[in-house]
């Protein structure tokens, strides 16, 4: 019985873990992944509506004008950007590229900052064009 306990996986208590830059890139990868999974039914629904009729297609595009849509788009854009960049970082590390500490920390900084920059740029562009309309 004890043997099974010894081989059971350890559970991670997020409040007892310190967060260096690589850990932030990593937890961001997980948070963005969960967000994207939650967005998946919405994506399927948007796909269906966009093909249903031209009016639905235009209605979907017109949703971009509202400030709430800009915020939602920025969150999804952050999730996509972070998940893509952090994922490519992991794939490169699997290939042995940039897996040493200094390079790994530098690429983690890049992923964290670039994903936020993408989100802020999209939010600014969305709010600006929405306000101009």
């Amino acid at each position: 019985m004890t043997r099974q306990r010894d081989t059971a996986p350890k559970f991670l208590n997020l409040f007892e873990i310190r967060f260096p830059v690589g850990a932030i890139a990593s937890i961001g990868h997980r948070i963005s992944g969960v967000l994207l999974i939650l967005a998946l039914p919405l994506a399927a629904q948007a796909l269906e509506r966009s093909l249903h009729s031209e009016a639905e297609f235009r209605a979907l595009l017109a949703m971009r004008a509202s400030p709430w849509a800009s915020i939602a788009t920025a969150v999804v854009a952050w999730a996509i950007a972070h998940h893509l960049l952090a994922g490519i970082r992991h794939l490169l590390m699997d290939l042995g590229v940039g897996h040493r500490l200094a390079a790994a920390r530098a690429s983690a900084w890049f992923v964290n900052v670039a994903a936020l920059a993408v989100a802020i740029a999209i939010l600014a562009a969305g709010l600006w064009s929405g306000g101009a309309r």
Partner: protein, 111 residues
């Protein structure tokens, strides 16, 4: 729940994501460098055989990739067996439903 676990899951997650990356890159380049598609463009793409297959492949690959990732996250943070099972079942059902819905929508376009 030993659906796609261990090294097979690791490989599946990476192979499926390569397909997602290629399709995202192609779609992203199309949107960046050509004029925004009209409804007619979009519809004729989605009702062509190759367009429909690419869209279904995209959602299918995303669903497989998402399953492996969601499973990792659930196993790391949810300790209670019943909660784990319930969440995994919910995620699996949702991913299958999304994939089937996309399949039916595009099947309807072609038919």
């Amino acid at each position: 729940m030993r659906v796609f676990s261990g090294q097979r899951a690791w490989l599946l997650q990476r192979v499926s994501v390569l397909l997602v990356l290629v399709l995202l890159a192609v779609g992203g380049l199309r949107l960046l460098f050509w004029p925004a598609p009209s409804y007619e463009d979009w519809r004729s793409f989605a009702s062509s055989a190759h367009g429909a297959v690419l869209i279904v492949l995209f959602f299918g690959a995303v669903a497989l990739h998402a399953w492996v990732g969601a499973r990792d996250v659930v196993l790391d943070y949810l300790q209670h067996r019943a909660v784990r099972f319930a969440v995994l079942l919910l995620v699996a059902t949702m991913l299958v439903a999304v994939t089937l819905r996309v399949l039916f929508v595009l099947g309807g376009q072609i038919a």
